[in-house]
Amino acid sequence: MRIVVPIKQVPDMTEVKFDVEQGRVDRSSAGAEINPFDLNVLEAAVQIKEKLGGTITAISMGPPQAEAALKDAMARGADRGVLLVDRAFAGADTLATSYTLASAIRKLGEFDLIICGEKTVDGDTGQVGPEIAEHLGIPHVAYVSKLVEVGEKLVVACDMEGVRYSIQSGFPVLITVTKDVNTPRLPSLRDKLNARKAKVEVWDAEALSSVADKSRFGVQGSPTMVHKITIPSEEGRKGRVFRGAVDESVKGFMGEIEKAGILGGIGIK
């Protein structure tokens, strides 16, 4: 099975700072890590490879530092890491990002299965996976929570608002997986050390020129733009506060909500 896993390096979201007055996002103080959802992607790829053999190619678009995320992917079982770095790729929205990644996947050659994470924790759109599939003209199944069968055909389960679908597909196909699909294992120290020495291939815009239209990369190829950023208004509510002895608090609270008709509103007298 020839598996391709698009991954992303993201800031540690707990460390990102916000300038409320300027409406600016400061990622500089936040460390970078592999998108947490992509750990499930790598685990899924490794499990399939362990069973069926094959290759895992991890691919990422980002700044030169994103090499670290690909090395991490290699420590976790990817055979090959390809980093797409070019100023021409910068400022991409999901359309340009998915186009660039799809172009690189075309350049890699034939593949059977592409596995993406449900979403990234920074962009949080969940769009890039399905968009890659459309660029490549292959089917996809999103929100996969279980790999039921991977072999001659693919059978996966996905949960859609309380209904579980089992969906069968041939190859090639793209799936996006949720955190429920597996529990990622930790890479061993030896894997980490080996990965440190591993070579990540670096491709620029020129390297994709045979498979892509450069005007569709980066800002130029991005139809959406952030017009402005605001901070959500914290419109407070006039809260009645109950404190002190618990029995009194609860009784006082019950009296208030009874008076306000809230219990009646939910079918309690």
């Binding site: 309380g162 209904v163 579980r164 009645r240 608090s249």
Partner: protein, 326 residues
Amino acid sequence: MNDYAGLMVFAEQRDGKIHPVAYELLGKGKELADRVGVGVSSVLLGHQMEEEAQELIYYGADKVFLYDHPALEDFDLLNYKHNIVRLVKEVKPEVFLLGATHLGRSLGPRVAVALSTGLTADCTGLDVDKDGSLIQIRPAFSGNILAHIKTKTRPQMSTVRYKVMPKGVRDASRKGEIIKKDAEIVPSLLTIVNKEKSGEVNIAEADVIVSGGRGLKRAEDFTILAELAKLCGGVVGSSRPLVDDGWIGKEHQVGFSGNTVKPKLYIACGISGSSQHLAGMRDSDVIVAINTDPSAPIFKLADYAIVGDLYEVVPRLTNEIRSRSS
């Protein structure tokens, strides 16, 4: 770009029933379209759904494009995409909206790429700019900021969160046109081999939610909340850390990266109120917060703040309510 006009809403259906997010989008869409002076249309794909198509008119559609074919009865990704793309190319709406449900989030990106246009994910607000273009507002960075996004290409496409827009008003005297379209069926490549209720709670639809946060000491203690929830005819919710730790399933998660909820009554137990959590429940009708820390951010949003330990407060609350309901 000038030959694009009007606003179109994708009406998602499951088992022949239209998902209510479509009615929310029609309500909001009509409001925006009226401001610009254009019409609202809707596209519905399914089998034998003419009665439901009428509902879309009652909720604000001037035209409904109806695709009726057995192959469209269930969600078929490639056939849905193929027919929607053909329709959009023909009708040329300026704006195309989908609900940010699992289905909408899976289908929307494919339609956007096929049309080479932009798609803004998971919007919580929509507005029209002075120049008539769509402003798409979405929370970013865990709900800490709101990004206002504009799209250069047409149609301007967005997926919009369920339960953030008020449901439009149903007016059974509204007149509109149902236009039957012939579906073009392409190889589906994906087969649904089984479909079953997963037994998951549907937290977005609950009238009462009793949610737990870090104030809970053990996963088992969710039963304390479950008892109160059950008594009120509600369900249990959770903040993100407990879901991440595997204490409870993701379907219970309330917040920016979980579910947006708007129940009649939201009881937050031991939840401090991160912006990520508040983004998912701030529009609840009545918010009750129980927390030991009087400075917890959740209290700013609460209608009723009980300063105290949930382990002492919740069981007493349960008893009080039980004595009234029996």
